[in-house]
């Protein structure tokens, strides 16, 4: 996927004012990872949702206000956890680098 745009997943058709968005991209050595799974865990660590990354390594969640954890699983890589803060009306952009 050479030339894929980093970050900045298109927000066309998304009502940003009413959603607490968390989105981003999974990278390995700077290259997009299109076969990763990103899970969203709530503030107690409980699973809330999971999505496969797109061919360009992108993912998106419609969360609620507050603190969340992104856990990324990919073939031949250890899981990576990242904390993220979400708020209605904003987009939290996260880049996840896996080993």
């Amino acid at each position: 996927m050479c030339g894929a745009t980093e970050g900045g997943l298109s927000l066309d058709g998304v009502n940003v004012a009413k959603e607490a968005l968390i989105q981003g991209q999974v990278l390995r050595d700077g290259e997009p990872v299109g076969n990763a799974y990103v899970r969203l865990l709530d503030k107690t660590g409980e699973f809330t949702a999971e999505v496969p990354t797109s061919a360009s390594g992108h993912f998106r969640f419609f969360a609620g206000e507050g603190q969340w954890t992104l856990r990324t699983l990919a073939p031949k890589a250890d899981p990576v956890d990242k904390q993220v803060q979400a708020a209605v009306g904003s987009v939290a952009e996260v880049v996840v680098a896996i080993g």
């Binding site: 409980e46 809330t48 419609f62 969360a63 856990r71």
Partner: protein
Amino acid sequence: MSRENSLVTTQWVEDNLDTPGIVIVEVDEDTTAYDKGHIKGAIKLDWSTELQDQVRRDFVNKQQFEQLLSSKGIANDDTVVLYGGNNNWFAAYAYWYFTLYGHADVKLMDGGRKKWELDSRELVDEVPTRPATSYTAQEQDRSIRAFRDDAIAAIGVQNLIDVRSPDEYAGRLLAPAHLPQEQSQRAGHVPTSLNVPWSKNCNDDGTFKSDDDLKALYAEAGIDDSKDTIALCRIGERSSLTWFVLKELLGHANVKNYDGSWTEYGSLVGVPIALGDEPGSADA
């Protein structure tokens, strides 16, 4: 039912890719996942266009289901092995659906598509062609399907297991967090329903937890083994997975899936709703 005859491993599937009489079927929430590569020989079922009536909110009827399976080349005596993404969320729904229409031999691939991918097993682009069959379905088995009146009658009487995430149960979210949250229905849960998120049935790699761990999970949640159980979620898919665990893996006798689930219940006029993290009371 038991784990041995309702579940197969990814290795078993790889060993049986060319075995006659076994049909591997991908059913994914993301209906384009199959097109990005799938298990060799697997066919695709689209839950949104092929398993739902396209006008009213209901399943395809018996005749439509027969036509669908005939056209897909699935025969009555085939072993159907289902797999999909998101811990087999929609594959479990298809499992329940095949059971509803009386298919004799249906199994889930433990861990689903994610486990297959994390194992670095092969995915192919080639779409197989299967000769059409003449499939005969049974009448719907209503003993595994709950309707809204069953859910209301179960308040304070039966086990109601709400399998949505804690934030959906409490009313802080209206949909799983990978979907937009704007919805028409009210937030919350059916009073007295216990919250056992569907994801607790599974390990991180998507495989089911052991029977002992699953028994402990439901005992701790307070399920009463002497009572019948109704599982529900938002649209009846995640609760199919919990139905599978309670009915097929743990062998509970009377377990129904309420496919109307919260998108129906939360839109009903006048029914009781509880908010917050506690089950609430039957008098609410």
